[in-house]
Subunit: 331 residues, 2 copies
DNA sequence: ATCACACGGTTACACGTGTAAGTTCGAGGG
DNA sequence: CCCTCGAACTTACACGTGTAACCGTGTGAT
């Protein structure tokens, strides 16, 4: 049952086969700049490594250098949508191109103190949605974590890396205003855990309205339930709202369901715009207009920022045109 | 800029503070069965460890034991929905309870050969959707990976761990038949990458029909586009189909959109049932009937299976009642 | 002829842990 | 009194890697 488990291929094996010392193997495979190795030896070592299928032990490497090539990505504890999956894939690809490995960990802060995890892994960087306390950040730093990145809004501690959430709200409002609406509503999510995202988005909508001297948007919490959403729709109608920005596509779909339930129709009676462009958006009745983020360029940008920060260089600026409005029928 | 980075707390520090040897610390903290330690010493060691905030280095531990406590979960390269996130969270919690750490890696087989990853990490177990080749499995085994779990249907190589996909299709068909339908359709996804899931689900529908001596379901590929879905709906109607099982909720939503587009209505003209119960399902027009899987018990079961297999015990059987039909308006 | 020096390597150590193999010591049996 | 034996520890080694420090050798300058 318990197999002999043919021993791991180590750099010593490669060295033996190539007829050099183990140090030489290390120098060749890591392209150590200080050390010069003849072209002939380089080839022999590379050949031997490939032939044996050698892959260095991450454990030993981490132990030696004190830092692993792992970037830890802590998922939030609220439900994630398909767009997160896309972003992760892009981020992973981009990081891999820089020799870094993305590791995603579901954020169950309760089960096991997060500290155990990064103390154990000693990742090169930690990316998380929620903010860390100053004490946590200090602890990580001293534990060898090179970079701590929070994707939420407060500035100063980390860097603002994700798409500025305000921008999403602003784009929503701009689209609605351009379509002739002046009295807007905001559909707030029912889940208090996402307020880190919802608040800045709402702030973006508010800012856009204020800039145009329009009345401040009337915000209502909209659960993912047609009947509850119908209530919200009635209240918006009563206050003269003609178009609503929703926190995301799911909330927007709820609003659309509410509109249908009260016997009205979008966008004539109430225009609706979402965020994310999830697949069901274009299948809704009516098809949902939404603000989409290009997750692949976003992932690449995030990776570039992490890499830059680790090598001490200055972070690149977020490329423009990452978010765009997908115009469909609902607004 | 580069901080002094207060050195890592090691077991040697704990030993010094507790006034014992480093080995004793290891014995205490790991509850090594062979070794007896007095209660007094145990307390002193534990106290010291807590006081210093000691967490053992995963790298050193892995290097020494040759196996890490990481369970590697390889995500597929097709888009994932919210249900995957829920399952991961449950799995992570359950594994943590057994001292294992879940690590999720987006499956970009192109960027970096997967071999590099598990050769580097030496995980305790690997969970993946797609199947591995025999060579890959042999390589993992010999590299020390304790268990390889394939979530796909082919038996023999790995273990069938997830919910049998056939069951999902069967439940769909049973619900429709019980509602009085006899001529069924199957809405196949447009993405060839998910055939590992789609084929067994379709097989389940076929089996349910065959068991009741009903005609074999007529399968059509349905892209996530209302117009294309409308075509499919017309063809189903032409062949006398009165109800369709969709690969998942998104495809089902597309079918519903198609139904509306051709001026018909569900479930009277065509009943539709999906799989997954994603949030937009209950917000659709009409609300989508679907087959839901309890991700939390599934995650716990998956964790139990992994743990059992690692310790050589026999795998538990999948608890019954994990999948249930959520009846709404569409079927 | 001598020296400095870049080239192309090798030797040796450290990283932090688990654990097999000792070591000390007090108790209990003959 | 001696021997054995278990409890309670300690000592010592191995895991696989990166890298600083050392070393021989040819080569061009003095």
């Amino acid at each position: 049952m318990t197999e002999p488990a043919t021993k791991r291929v180590t750099s010593a094996d490669v060295a033996r086969l190539a007829g050099v010392s183990r140090a030489t193997v290390s120098y060749v495979l890591n392209d150590t700049p200080r050390q010069t190795i003849s072209a002939g030896t380089r080839d022999r070592v590379r050949e031997a490594a490939a032939q044996l299928g050698y892959a260095p032990s991450a454990a030993a490497r981490t132990l030696r250098t004190g830092r692993s090539d792992v970037v830890l990505y802590l998922l939030p504890d609220w439900p994630i949508g398909p767009e997160v999956g896309l972003a992760l894939e892009a981020l992973s690809s981009a990081l891999a191109r820089h020799g870094l490995t993305l590791v995603v960990h579901p954020g169950n802060r309760e089960d096991r103190p997060m500290t155990e995890l990064w103390k154990a892994i000693t990742p090169a960087a930690v990316i998380a949605y929620a903010e860390f306390s100053d004490a946590e950040i200090a602890a990580m730093r001293s534990a060898g974590v090179a970079l701590v990145v929070a994707l939420s809004r407060k500035r100063g501690h980390g860097r603002e890396l994700a798409v500025p959430q305000e921008l999403l709200g602003r784009r929503q409002a701009e689209h609605l205003v351009r379509a002739g609406h002046s009295r807007l509503g905001y559909a707030y999510p029912d889940d208090h855990r996402v307020r880190f995202f919802a608040e800045p988005r709402l702030a973006g909508v508010r800012a856009a309205c204020a800039a145009r001297r329009l009345p401040t948007p009337v915000g209502l919490t909209v659960p993912l339930d047609p009947a509850a959403a119908a209530d919200a729709v009635r209240r918006w109608r009563a206050t003269g709202v003609t178009a609503v920005c929703a926190y995301n596509d799911e909330v927007a779909l709820a609003v659309l369901a509410g509109v249908r339930l009260v016997g009205l129709s979008a966008p004539d009676d109430l225009a609706v715009i979402g965020v994310d462009d999830i697949p069901p958006a274009r299948l809704a009745e009516p098809a949902l207009t939404t603000v989409a983020t290009d997750q692949s360029v976003l992932g690449a940008h995030l990776a570039a920022t992490v890499v830059a920060a680790m090598s001490g260089r200055v972070a690149p600026t977020l490329p423009t045109g990452v978010v765009r409005v997908v115009t469909r029928a609902s607004a």
